[in-house]
Symmetry: C2
Subunit: 210 residues, 2 copies
């Protein structure tokens, strides 16, 4: 029977959807997408599993939304760092360093965002978000070339080299098989790791020994 959705019903629906998203997010933060089973999310959210499918068409859609939420947060942080004062090289270095440090501080979520094998929908999001990061870096590289602190180069292509280098170099350190051995919380000494990655990236861009 068709009926008009009241404002109150809309609000309640939106709140339920948000609660499901938050509980899924929490699961992924704790153990990656592989531990975010629908039954577990439903339990955490205090709803029936069927309710979840009233808000999300599929588990894949739910995961894709969580991926977007969490990744957009990181993209925003990179944009913020790149908008700070300083020449382009300094800003790029800060943005890359912050990205790596944030990942190492939240290694489970970071690994899930960067490398966890999930499903094709999440992989599609990964490709899209890597482009988003690259767009930000590209803009900064262009500014650096204009400022003269970065040699002339194909800014688009170099930006993707940056995205690849920083993401792939973090996969090993973040991977669950290494977790427990040396995570940020335990040793609190990720400086050499981060320094090596940043040096590679900035040298790659500038050709100047760091």
């Amino acid at each position: 029977m068709a009926y008009r959705e009241t404002e109150k019903m809309r609000q309640r629906k939106a709140a339920a959807r948000q609660r499901i998203a938050e509980c899924t997010y929490q699961c992924v933060t704790e153990g990656g997408f592989r531990t975010a089973k629908i039954t577990r999310v439903a339990q955490l959210a205090g709803v029936a599993t069927g309710t979840i499918y009233r808000h999300y068409e599929s588990k894949e859609d739910l995961f894709a939304e969580i991926f977007r939420l969490a990744t957009q947060r990181e993209v925003d942080k990179v944009a913020e760092a790149l908008a700070a004062p300083g020449n382009a090289t300094v800003r790029l270095e800060k943005a890359l360093r912050q990205f790596a440090e944030r990942a190492l501080k939240g290694p489970v979520m970071a690994w899930s965002l960067i490398a966890e094998p999930v499903d094709p929908k999440v992989e599609e999001e990964r490709l899209a978000y890597r482009k988003a990061y690259a767009n930000l870096f590209e803009q900064a590289i262009r500014e650096g070339i204009e400022e003269g602190c970065i040699p002339d180069q194909d800014a688009r292509l170099s930006s993707t080299c940056l995205v690849g280098a920083i993401a792939e170099s973090l996969v090993g350190p973040l991977s669950p098989s290494q977790a427990g051995q040396e995570t940020a919380d335990e040793t609190d000494n990720n400086d050499p790791l981060v320094n090596t990655i940043i040096r590679f990236c900035i040298q790659g861009l500038t050709g100047t020994r760091r």
Copy 2:
């Protein structure tokens, strides 16, 4: 009813399995994993779709095998280039250049291997093979550090920066949305593209302007 498999039956079975693998490989080369539907593979191989599942547990297993076959070929090529004469920087540059050029010459397969969203089994293989590439690069970087042509650094970490930079920078140029615009066969001028990627990689390693 249990029976003993004769040598002839074993051979026939192996031949059928290989034929299925070859036809799947051909599909992926032509249009990526997304076009390698089981019905199409069966048609090409001249078998019933059910036969495919007698040789492979699932489509995912079949795809993972094709991924391994095709990627191992590229890993071997990198190993070969790294084993050639010359100092480590020269060998790394050759290996990276050859990798990029081979990818751009077979863009559909290369994109499928590097970036096509497939399924978690293929993603697992991707992670494993990226490690295989990194292991090869790591060894060459160590040799370069000993030879003195590469500054002292965390060879393991730098090797993953190389893997990430070269793979990610090829995603855009290889992606189907760009295909037809400028693929290797049409313009035959991928030199500036490859040069930019190689420059970034070698500068990243050596900190010396190219």
